[in-house]
Amino acid sequence: MKMINPDDLSKAIKELLTEKKIDLFIGWEKGSLPLSATPLFITSEDEAERAVFDITCGNNLSIYFTKDRKQFADKKVGIAVKGCDARSVVLNTLEKQIDRANVVMVGVPCHGVLDKKKVLAKTDGREVLELIDNGDTVTLIGKGYELSIDRSEILSSSCLACIYPDAQECDIFIGDARAEVPNENRLKEIKEFEALSTEERWANTCAEYEKCIRCYACRNVCPSCYCNVCFVDQNDPGWIGNTCEFTDSMIFHVIRNLHVAGRCVECGACERACPMDINLLLLNRKVAMEVKDRFGDIAGLDINGKPAMVDFKEDEKQDFIMG
């Protein structure tokens, strides 16, 4: 497993800044907690020194392009991207949210990012005070314990199914970018779920989505969710109820899934942000699988393409049509 040397990243950022190719670079720095990196907006060489990339850098930084309606509209922006983040940037470009010419994408070699909830499950809820990334294994250290575990045990579910860990579209790559990486677990979870009976699936769905408290953190952290007014916030007509009533929550999640169909880059931000620990990504990935199988599209992979749901071919599989 070839990890990034953070100095290479800092160096690349500094070069971009000194050569005036960018006004600002969005990257990550070490956060205040051992399990969290934090976004860093770099405008000086000193700040560039602080840039890191490791297992804690889960944030899909492309969200800052659409937050507060194009705050960087008139700036040249550099951005550090994992495979999924790069797809978000491409998608933002396709949807005319950003001008690709104003963005310098710096790819970083990704070996997955951690899910804090999975880490805590491994330590039985004990606080982690230090995390050492050894590549294939990760060492967790806390008060009175030291634990070495397989990296895969704490990775975000999005990473476990990932086939594009590295940016397929980028201007600079730190190291050697991998193309599609085969992943035998890509559809494992989905196939397992599909193998259940309708009743079992429904029972599972209910158990998961009954937890929803409608905080909308999933939507708010989603780089693909940038509507001015979300359908769930519209009140004239008020499409769906806003209380935690189960059917309303379910409809919210199903429709949100469809709204990001062909646009979801499976970065897993929603699932990691969910305070109620709902396995949101399962539905997203199912939809992504259908989009891939039926239309051959993978969101954000082709910068010359079109998002799947605004495109069509005349002779498409229509096995679901009656008669």
């Binding site: 779920f193 599909e194 259908e290 039926r294 049509i321």
Partner: protein, 139 residues
């Protein structure tokens, strides 16, 4: 006590399927009286939200029907609709909604008979499933 009858919402496009329904009626074809029709300009107008809302409101089944591919009055509305439904249907089944509750068809203005067949089929399918409970909102 009379036998339970399924209530099915049929969302039909104005130019083909609605006319197909009309033809079925004018031709005095027999089909089950379990559908309630909503006419929309085009199957492309059908937001998956409408389908979800119908299930939530207690409809036992939903039928969406538009023009055959290539026949759309607005040229490509039904192609776009087809992609939406192609994703919605497996997703609904995935979360555990019975496969036959929500169905899609293409019915042209001349296919009165097909309309009757489709309505008969979905009615029987839904009847077999029994009353819908899974996404129905209880107040």
């Amino acid at each position: 006590m009379s036998e339970w009858q399924p209530r099915i919402l049929a969302i039909l496009c104005n130019w083909c399927s609605y006319a197909g329904a009309d033809l079925a009626g004018v031709s005095r074809m027999q089909y089950p009286p379990n559908i309630r029709v909503v006419r929309v300009p085009c199957s492309g107008r059908v937001d998956p939200l409408f389908i979800m809302k119908s299930l939530q409101a207690g409809f036992d089944g939903v039928l969406v029907s538009g023009c055959h591919p290539g026949d759309c009055h607005y040229i490509s509305g039904n192609y776009v609709a087809r992609r939406k439904f192609a994703v919605l249907k497996p997703l609904l089944e995935f979360i555990g909604i019975e496969p036959n509750r929500v169905q899609f068809s293409w019915i042209s203005a001349g296919e009165g008979e097909r309309f009757a067949t489709v309505v008969t089929k979905i009615t029987e399918d839904v009847r077999k499933l029994g009353p819908s409970t899974r996404l129905v909102k209880k107040l």
